[in-house]
């Protein structure tokens, strides 16, 4: 009996114990990345069916770091509710899914947030015809809210704090929210301000909708991995940081080849000309060079997906570099 039990224990261990996620990904030959079910600008299929957006770029950057190839990634859609079980069960290697970094998710759910790729805050969107100019005038309104999100909790807090009432209409996906809002089943849609811009851009007549000025919460959105696999966490963290540092150093996808002959030491370290940072991460020496070459730096990704020239029209604001009035800041590359 003891022998039988120990056999079971070994089998259990084999089932549950992961080799490092990095090795798993390398052996599999592609990265599995959890994204939204479709949020324009962050992760949504473009006209040619390719996933595009700020979060999609985050996934691709990690794929480039590991394989040197931006196409080696499988995008797996997750809802606000399914994202955490999907990550915890190992169905995806990482999430880049507009996920707010909070203490309970970091500590209690057993995940590790490796950084912030978009500083956001919760806002409200409402038909301009209703003539509401502030969220404090929303007493009695029906509010569409995505379940299982931090916004759901912020919403309750906001109305409680202001002593006004509301009716919550719980929805699962952004599309469902849009549908209910456009049909008038709810008066207001609340989610991260970036998501509202995305929803507004998708409306048939964007001018009929206003995003109210109040931002009622801090929503630092960033990629996350399972807790406990620090090597993998480092790969994802530094893939993001490499893009931010590249912007800081003025390295872009266009000038990256010329920068290989730069005389700035940090540029040379970043591009793998000097030092052995790739080796430390168990990646190719030119991993960061490839990210910048194939994806671009943070600014390029931002401007292409959510910036003022896109339908989302989100100014850099908090997401500008720390040197330019924002709070985007990556630790030094050395």
């Amino acid at each position: 009996m003891k022998k039988l039990l120990s056999i079971f224990a070994v089998v259990a261990f084999a089932f549950s114990a992961h080799a490092g996620t990095l090795d798993d990904v390398k052996n599999r030959g592609f990265l599995k990345c959890g994204v939204t079910t479709g949020l324009a600008g962050f992760a949504a299929p473009d006209d040619s069916g390719e996933w595009a957006g700020l979060d999609a770029d985050m996934c691709r950057a990690v794929a480039v770091a590991v394989f040197g190839d931006r196409s080696k990634v499988e995008f797996i859609t997750t809802t606000g509710k399914s994202r955490f079980p999907t990550l915890a069960s190992g169905e995806v290697d990482m999430l880049a899914r507009n996920t707010t970094w909070t203490i309970s998710r970091d500590v209690n759910l057993g995940f590790e947030f490796v950084g912030v790729n978009f500083y956001d805050g919760q806002g409200f969107m409402i038909p301009s015809a209703l003539g509401v100019s502030s969220a404090t005038e929303l007493d009695g309104a029906t509010v569409c809210i995505q379940t299982g999100t931090t916004t759901e909790l912020n919403l309750a807090d906001f109305f409680r704090l202001n002593g006004i009432s509301y009716e919550a209409l719980p929805i699962e996906t952004n599309d469902e929210g849009k549908e209910n809002l456009f049909a008038g089943r709810c008066d207001v849609y609340t989610t991260d301000a970036s998501g509202l811009s995305s929803t507004r851009a998708a409306a048939s007549n964007p001018d009929k909708w206003v995003v109210l000025p109040e931002i009622i919460s801090k929503e630092p959105l960033g990629p996350l991995v399972r807790h406990g696999d620090h090597q993998w966490g480092d790969v994802v963290r530094w893939s993001l940081n490499a893009m931010i540092i590249a912007e800081e150093l003025g390295v872009t996808s266009e000038n990256v080849d010329a920068q290989l002959g730069s005389n700035v030491p940090e540029v040379l370290r970043l591009l793998g000309v000097e030092g052995s940072y790739g080796e430390m991460l168990e990646l190719a020496p030119d991993w960061a060079y490839q990210i910048i070459k194939q994806i671009g730096n943070y600014s390029e990704s931002y401007e292409a997906n959510v910036g003022p020239d896109t339908p989302l029209e989100i100014a850099r604001g908090l997401n500008a570099l720390w040197t330019q009035g924002g709070i985007l800041y990556a630790p030094p590359f050395r």
Binding site: S16, K81, L109, D139, A141, E152, R160, P170, I171, G228
Partner: protein
């Protein structure tokens, strides 16, 4: 003699051996699953335990007709709100499905070609389209109703919009307690009158107008009492204030969609059961009762239905169970049932997936076993009593 020495040739030993083996392996399998789960949870630093039940939920539930719910209430209260909402849609759904199912089942057997064709098409259409699609279909239709500012008005007190159906809410004043007591007393005495009348009929053959007596007791007397006491009831009318109607009674489109889809879908199955039940009573029974000169309605009520019920009730029980379990699809349209509220939002906000799912499953099991228990009692009461 040799065969007696070999244990495996002994049939009793063999059967005990294999049964023990199967049970043992099963227990070991369960043990293995529990161990692996606990091990993995610990490895991933996922906190476990039941403490979260007493933590404040932090979110609001708007559809809670029986309990007042605030965001400062606990997850345990989220659970109770969910159970009540699940029971609400299940019980109303079962009642409506039974009524509709019996009607359609009987109509299907009607000699009127058009009527029986219509119920045939209804049955084939509804039971062959997935329930989830039907729920979404109903919801999509209801969502297309006028917006709240352009609500349809009926008699100036009912309002219909895509936010739901608003009607006046009755407010019972203190004197209403007497009327309530009168109705309960009337119900109890009707029950005894019925028993007495049946006994008398068995003995003497005389009939007593039970229906009219009960009707008078249950409806007429309380209504007279109502006016004597000076109408101790008033209404709160829905009123447009700001974004929404305030006051009054509201039935949400999420509930209506669930109620319609569940009852219409299940009624199709029930109608087939009813049809089978009626057809199971031999033609001779009908002919014999007609020969005795019974009225057509009496034949149905006194001869056919009691015998058909023996066949109908067991599959009817499983339809009730199906309806109750199918109510968990409410999540598709945001109906705040047990799965959506506690098994969805609470689970997600606390991350206690295993605990929440165990509670939700145990609850469905309890509800289902309770339905089975009462339906089995009813089933026994309508079976042939061998004398």
């Amino acid at each position: 003699m040799r065969s007696n020495l070999n244990f495996f040739s002994d049939e009793r030993f063999r059967s005990i051996f294999f049964q023990t083996l199967v049970v043992g392996l099963f227990a070991l399998g369960i043990f293995f699953i529990v161990q692996t789960t606990a091990y993995n949870l610990e490895k991933r630093n996922i906190a476990t335990g039941w403490r979260f039940l007493s933590d404040p939920a932090g979110f609001d539930i708007s559809f809670s007709p029986f309990l007042e719910f605030k965001s400062t209430d606990t997850h345990l209260k989220v659970y109770f709100v969910g159970v009540l909402n699940t029971l609400l849609v299940s019980i109303t759904g079962c009642i409506a499905a039974t009524i509709l199912g019996f009607l359609v089942g009987i109509i299907r057997l009607s000699s009127n070609w058009l009527l029986s064709r219509i119920s045939y098409i209804y049955v084939e259409f509804t039971r062959n389209v997935p329930l989830l699609l039907q729920i979404i279909l109903w919801y999509s239709i209801l969502i297309q109703l006028p917006r709240v500012k352009q609500s349809l008005q009926i008699l100036d007190v009912f309002y219909i919009s895509n936010r739901g159906l608003y009607s006046p809410r009755p407010i019972f004043e203190s004197g209403f307690t007497y009327i309530f007591i009168a109705i309960i007393l009337a119900l109890i005495s009707s029950f005894f009158i019925r028993r007495w009348a049946k006994k008398r009929q068995d003995l003497t053959g005389d009939q007593y107008p039970v229906f009219y007596t009960s009707f008078g007791l249950i409806f007429i007397i309380p209504i007279i009492l109502f006016f004597i006491l000076g109408s101790p009831m008033s209404f709160e009318y829905p009123e447009m204030k700001g974004f929404n109607f305030k006051g009054g009674l509201v039935i949400r489109p999420e509930f209506i969609a669930m109620f319609l889809a569940l009852s219409i879908y299940t009624a199709a199955f029930i109608s087939e059961t009813v049809r089978a039940g009626i057809l199971s009573v031999t033609k001779g029974q009908r002919e014999a009762s007609a020969a005795l000169g019974l009225k057509q309605s009496w034949i149905m009520r006194l001869i056919i239905i009691p015998q058909a019920l023996r066949v109908i009730v067991p599959p009817l029980t499983s339809q009730y169970l199906n309806l109750t379990k199918n109510s968990s699809l409410g999540i598709a349209v945001g109906y705040a049932d047990l799965v959506h509220g506690f098994g969805g939002i609470s689970l997600n906000q606390t991350g206690q997936a295993i605990e929440c799912m165990v509670i939700v499953m145990a609850t469905y099991l309890t509800i289902s076993l309770t339905i089975s228990f009462f339906m089995n009692i009813y089933n026994r009461s309508i079976q042939f009593k061998e004398k």
